[in-house]
């Protein structure tokens, strides 16, 4: 992993999570795990964000919110599915109001497994997302030049 040229900001949204992954995501941003040492910060504004971290699977109502948040984010952007619910639905996949993983709605770039996802895994996944962001940025720049 090299040095990033930018400092990507994370937008967190709880689609139908049980809170477990949310508190681990917050724990990974606080002193013991400290994602901020990589220049990664939590933001509440989708227009400032580069990485969308979604926890929990999507349901009928949250799919609209997730889609709106994704559309509001500037290009290039990366989607991270945090936790096994966001990946496949976990124990809730048989529930009547659960559509499944986040990839049913958005193009997901990184999947982070775990119930709840551990902070170490979240840090690893977000750093992978940073690499993908750099790649997308390079592509986007090339495309703009043409």
């Amino acid at each position: 992993m090299g040095w990033f040229r930018r400092s990507p900001w994370v937008l967190h949204y709880n689609a139908t999570s049980c809170n477990g992954c949310d508190i681990e995501l917050i724990a990974s941003l606080t002193p013991l795990y400290d994602l901020e040492r990589f220049g990664i910060m939590n933001t509440g504004n989708p227009k400032h964000a580069d990485i969308l971290a979604v926890t929990g699977s999507v349901n009928e109502k949250s799919r609209q919110v997730v889609q709106t948040l994704y559309d509001q984010m500037p290009n290039p952007k990366v989607v991270v599915a945090v936790g096994i619910c966001a990946t496949s639905g976990c124990v809730f996949q048989d529930c009547y109001n659960v559509l499944g993983g986040v990839d049913k709605v958005l193009p997901v770039d990184v999947y982070i497994p775990g119930c709840a996802a551990r902070p170490e895994a979240i840090i690893d996944g977000v750093l992978k997302a940073c690499d993908i962001l750099e790649e997308k940025y390079a592509q986007w720049k090339k495309m703009r030049r043409q």
């Binding site: 949310d22 606080t30 002193p31 809730f92 529930c95 551990r118």
Partner: protein, 359 residues
């Protein structure tokens, strides 16, 4: 004259870790009405009881909420055990109480952090979450997981804590207590925190009673409601003393939670001193036939688990009444007449847990 506006608050908002939506009807800076809309995290897991047998369902009950995960499995197991007439060994009851109290400590510390973030005190947020990590380390060593513990099962618990580890936990909690006193001191005595919270979101004792408040919300208004007094798990052997304040504002709610953290640490110490040796679980045979309401005191208040079975492996009905749900009417009442800038504070001092509420 003042002009009426509707300000949408949520579902995605910087201070909210979870999605809840309010339409705040305002006149200038003052809120005259708040219309909540929920179901952003509704999964429908109560109906999952028809697809999972009653032993497997403990894992689903564990995942109703991440912050009070242990209390949900505890409530569900208690209800099933009561229907089936299972005598849980005493050591298992003590272990359940220890894990439940540790859950309360970590949930309250998390809440203190998020509340500090809501009134713009970011370094306090970081400190509170730093001090929460030792509790999670204890969870990890004793259960193998940090958040969703999965140690409760019908008829007892899955893992034992040996006596040396218990002693170690008590010593570590005593060390943590010293650090927490410093943190609590900031919440109790700091000028800016007091200025921000005192007198905000007042709810009187009568209103709290009439609107059915539970947990720290009711206790901050002077109602002595604490389900631990019922003596489930090992609480009948411990000295439980509810923390009660009378001011009824955001500051009092904060104070109640700070005091409860220290009381929970004390309860763990008591339980570790009294825990008897013996088995940690009993064998379960048969299936539940009957119905039962189990009442458990969560970090946020009283939670009720209703379980109904007809002697088959698959239960007929499972229902949860969570503390946030009974606190929402009081939250709406308090929001009316508040300033727009106080809204995050008011919502957060109720400690809303949306994923419990909508399941």
């Amino acid at each position: 004259m003042a002009h009426r506006n509707i300000i949408p608050f949520g579902p995605q908002h910087p201070v909210l870790p979870e999605p809840i939506h309010f339409d705040l009807v305002t006149e200038d800076e003052r809120i005259i009405d708040a219309i909540p809309s929920i179901s952003y995290v509704h999964r429908g897991l109560e109906r999952l009881i028809e697809k999972r047998d009653f032993l497997d369902f403990v894992h689903v009950a564990d995942r109703i909420c991440g912050l009070c995960s242990f209390m949900h499995s505890l409530g569900y197991c208690q209800a099933v055990e009561e229907i089936m007439g299972i005598e849980v060994p005493e050591r298992a009851l003590y272990l359940r109480s220890i894990w439940a109290e540790l859950s309360r400590v970590h949930s309250h510390l998390f809440w203190l952090g998020v509340a500090a973030d809501a009134f713009g005190f970011e370094s306090l947020f970081m400190q509170a979450l730093r001090l929460r990590e030792p509790v999670l380390d204890i969870f990890e060593e004793t259960t193998g997981a940090r958040v969703i513990l999965g140690v409760c099962k019908i008829g007892g618990v899955r893992r034992d804590i040996d006596d040396d580890s218990l002693k170690g936990i008590v010593i570590r909690l005593a060390n943590l207590k010293a650090a927490l006193e410093e943190l609590g001191n900031v919440f109790i005595n700091d000028y800016s925190v007091r200025h921000r919270l005192s007198g905000v979101g007042f709810i009187s004792r009568d209103d709290a009673y009439a609107l059915g408040c539970v947990g720290p919300m009711a206790r901050a208004s002077g109602l002595e409601i604490d389900m631990r007094k019922l003596g489930y798990a090992a609480y009948k052997y411990l000295d439980v003393e509810p923390a009660v304040e009378t001011a009824g504002d955001c500051y009092a709610r904060c104070l109640v939670r700070v005091r409860e953290i220290f009381h929970s640490i004390d309860l763990v110490r008591q339980a570790a001193g009294k825990i008897p040796p013996g088995p940690i679980d009993v064998k379960v045979t048969g299936a539940p036939d009957g119905e039962y309401y189990s009442r458990v005191e969560q970090p946020r208040g009283e939670v009720i688990h209703y379980v109904k079975g007809n002697g088959a492996k698959f239960l007929q009905r499972f229902r949860v009444r969570v503390p946030t749900f009974s606190n929402i009417p009081a939250m709406i009442k308090v929001l009316k007449g508040a300033e727009v800038a106080d809204v995050p504070n008011i919502i957060l001092t109720l400690d809303p847990c949306i994923s419990c509420t909508e399941r």
